[in-house]
């Protein structure tokens, strides 16, 4: 065991270590993969004695317009004649996009400003970015509802107000990750030189942020956006209380779970693939970095 062969790394590792490592790997991999495999298998058995994608087509197929559910997404009122799968997914995507826009618009200038002009604010930012971890989703939901469902600010009785609450809550949730991604991105570029160059060429602050800083933070902003997607799409805690009409994808999933047998299995696989796609894209963007150690709320 004591052979000092560490320089040539692992290829010549004692076999005991490798057997141990493989054993751990197999147990853990089984824990992760078996539930998905059985779920996939189950999702294919919607028709008796037959393996097929019936559960998937039940969920995904666009039926004839007469049978379709009409759901209005907001804030832009669009009447849609789509199965609930698409309408709820669209609603959640819309919320995710709004969150991404709000979050990017606030976090990028703030992180930039702290880095460029207010480095003394850094400890305060560290504190603020840790705060959301202390408030679990359900508690934040409760606090928001108690704060904004009565005078002086009654947000819950209008569509727009509820959307504002949801987007605000999501922004708080993803803020720590967005801030950290943007902050890391900012450290990698020389913002002082860039800013001074742009300013001396006559650029105003909006131009500096939008056309100089933001393009340099593409990767950070995009990863944060994908992460927001992954978190917001299946999110249940907030939408369950803010939109009790099962308009969002998370509550649609819960409703299907209560009412159907094989469709939940199909939806599990579909959601898993969506999260997978987001994670793969984030990793592509990060070029090998494993900076996705992040979780949404459960």
């Amino acid at each position: 065991m004591a052979t000092p062969s560490a320089s040539s790394s692992s290829r010549r590792k004692p076999s005991l270590t490798r057997i141990f490592a493989w054993a751990i790997f197999i147990v853990c991999a089984a824990y992760l993969i078996v539930p998905l495999l059985t779920q996939f298998d189950y999702s294919l058995r919607a028709k008796r004695d037959q393996v097929g994608f019936t559960a998937y087509t039940n969920v995904l197929a666009i039926p004839d317009p007469a049978k379709a559910v009409t759901v209005e997404t907001s804030p832009p009122k669009v009447a849609l004649s789509l199965p609930k799968f698409y309408s709820s997914l669209l609603f959640s995507c819309l919320m995710a996009v709004l969150t991404i826009v709000v979050n990017t618009a606030i976090i990028v200038p703030t992180a930039y400003w702290v880095q460029y002009r207010l480095p003394r604010f850094k400890p305060a930012m560290e504190f603020f970015t840790v705060l959301p971890f202390a408030i679990p989703g359900i508690v934040l939901t409760f606090g928001l509802l108690r704060t904004y469902s009565g005078p002086p600010f009654n947000l819950t009785n209008t569509e727009l107000g509820t959307v504002v609450m949801l987007v605000g809550a999501y922004s708080i949730l993803v803020m720590p990750y967005t801030y950290r991604a943007v902050d890391t991105g900012l450290r990698a570029i020389d913002i002082r030189t860039l800013t001074e160059a742009a300013r001396s060429l006559g650029a105003g602050w909006p131009v500096v942020i939008l056309r100089v800083i933001l393009p340099n933070l593409r990767v950070a902003v995009l990863s944060a956006a994908l992460l927001t997607f992954a978190i917001a799409i299946g999110e249940f805690t907030f939408v369950n209380f803010l939109f009790p009409d099962e308009r969002a994808f998370g509550s649609y999933l819960a409703a299907i779970g209560r009412n159907k047998i094989f469709e939940p299995a199909a939806l599990t696989i579909i959601s898993f693939l969506m999260v997978w796609a987001a994670v793969l894209l984030i990793q592509r963007l990060g070029r090998g970095g494993n900076q996705t150690q992040v979780t949404g709320i459960r």
């Binding site: 065991m1 207010l118 928001l144 939806l267 996705t292």
Partner: protein
């Protein structure tokens, strides 16, 4: 640059490179105090967002916890937390979070070891990291569905065990709709998160230390006992605390998997939001405050452990 400028202003000297500044004296005359107050304004949108959607609601919870029906100060709400059923819900939540945090931390750390120092490199490593990122983000309702299919009464695993090995899980008192079932489901997102946190920590352990230990005649076991584990311990403990918080705040998975069969504290709060029979506005504030206090303590612990960690594992 700014700092130099300010120093020069106070000393009333100008270094050579500031010739241009003399030509246009406008920026020199701006008082530093006015600049600072203007710079503060740049933080306003961020502070507003934080205030409106995090701090103000939290203050509402805090003040509500100490207010009675008439808005007077009272400790009754806090005292109300010490009812048997509420304490039981807190206990279940703490138990589930602590156990899944510790078990998940051990599993995750072992897997992280396997793909770093254990020699499983290349494809296995990147595959594990990708899958762990997905699993750590994959919680809530779909996760509950998957575990019901796997281990529900007629699920794949109980049926397989009964038909092939003659083991009757449900006959022996197991059920996925219990605290144990909830823990099994939580582990699915707990240990992958641990892997993601611990892989960089294991990577941060320098190979030279291993060589140094070997040169001094230490065995592999000695290395881990006297060097590896002591260095990794703070980051391991910090991550465990993080996993604890991760499970403690979990709501969707519990709601979809065990529903009313297991009362975790998040479900008690959700019932208070809906305003069920036992609805007591003052008490619901106190319930929320209790969760925040527990999480705040664990985060303070995490931040402290993080400080110790960075001392050794700084790249």
């Amino acid at each position: 640059m700014n700092q130099t400028l300010r120093v020069c202003q106070t000393l009333r000297v100008c270094p050579l490179y500031m010739d241009t500044a003399i030509a246009t004296p406008a920026p020199l005359q701006r008082a530093p105090s006015r600049q600072v107050s203007w710079a503060w304004l740049g933080m306003l949108p961020f502070l507003l967002l934080m205030f409106a959607f995090l701090i103000y609601p939290s203050l509402t919870i805090l003040s509500g916890s100490f207010r009675g029906q008439e808005g007077e100060f009272t400790l009754d709400n806090i005292a109300g937390l010490f009812q048997a059923n509420i304490l039981a819900a807190y206990r279940v939540s703490l138990e589930v979070s602590a156990i899944t945090a510790v078990v998940g931390a051990c599993m995750g750390a072992l897997l992280a070891y396997a793909i770093t120092w254990g020699g499983l490199h290349g494809r296995v490593r990147s595959g594990v990291i990708t899958f762990a990122s997905v699993a750590a983000n994959f919680g809530g309702i779909p996760l509950a569905f998957a575990f019901i299919t796997l281990m529900g009464r007629t699920g794949a695993l109980p049926v397989f065990l009964r038909n092939n090995l003659g083991i009757d899980l449900y006959g022996n008192g197991f059920s996925i709709y219990t605290v144990q079932g909830l823990m099994l489901a939580y582990l699915y997102f707990q240990f992958p998160l641990m892997v993601l946190i611990m892989v960089p920590a294991f990577d941060g352990l320098k190979r030279e230390w291993r060589e140094a230990a070997a040169n001094l005649g230490g065995s592999s076991l000695d290395f881990w006992r006297y060097v590896g584990i002591p260095i990794l311990l703070p980051s391991f403990l910090g991550a465990t605390v993080l996993l604890f918080g991760n499970a403690f705040g979990a709501y969707a998975t519990a709601e979809a998997l065990t529903g009313s069969k297991v009362d975790v504290i998040t479900r008690v709060i959700s019932r208070q939001i809906r305003g069920d029979v036992l609805y007591n506005p003052g008490l619901s504030y106190a319930l929320a405050l209790g969760m925040v206090v527990i999480l705040a303590i664990s985060i303070a612990l995490y931040v402290w452990l993080q400080r110790i960690t960075t001392r050794w594992l700084r790249q």
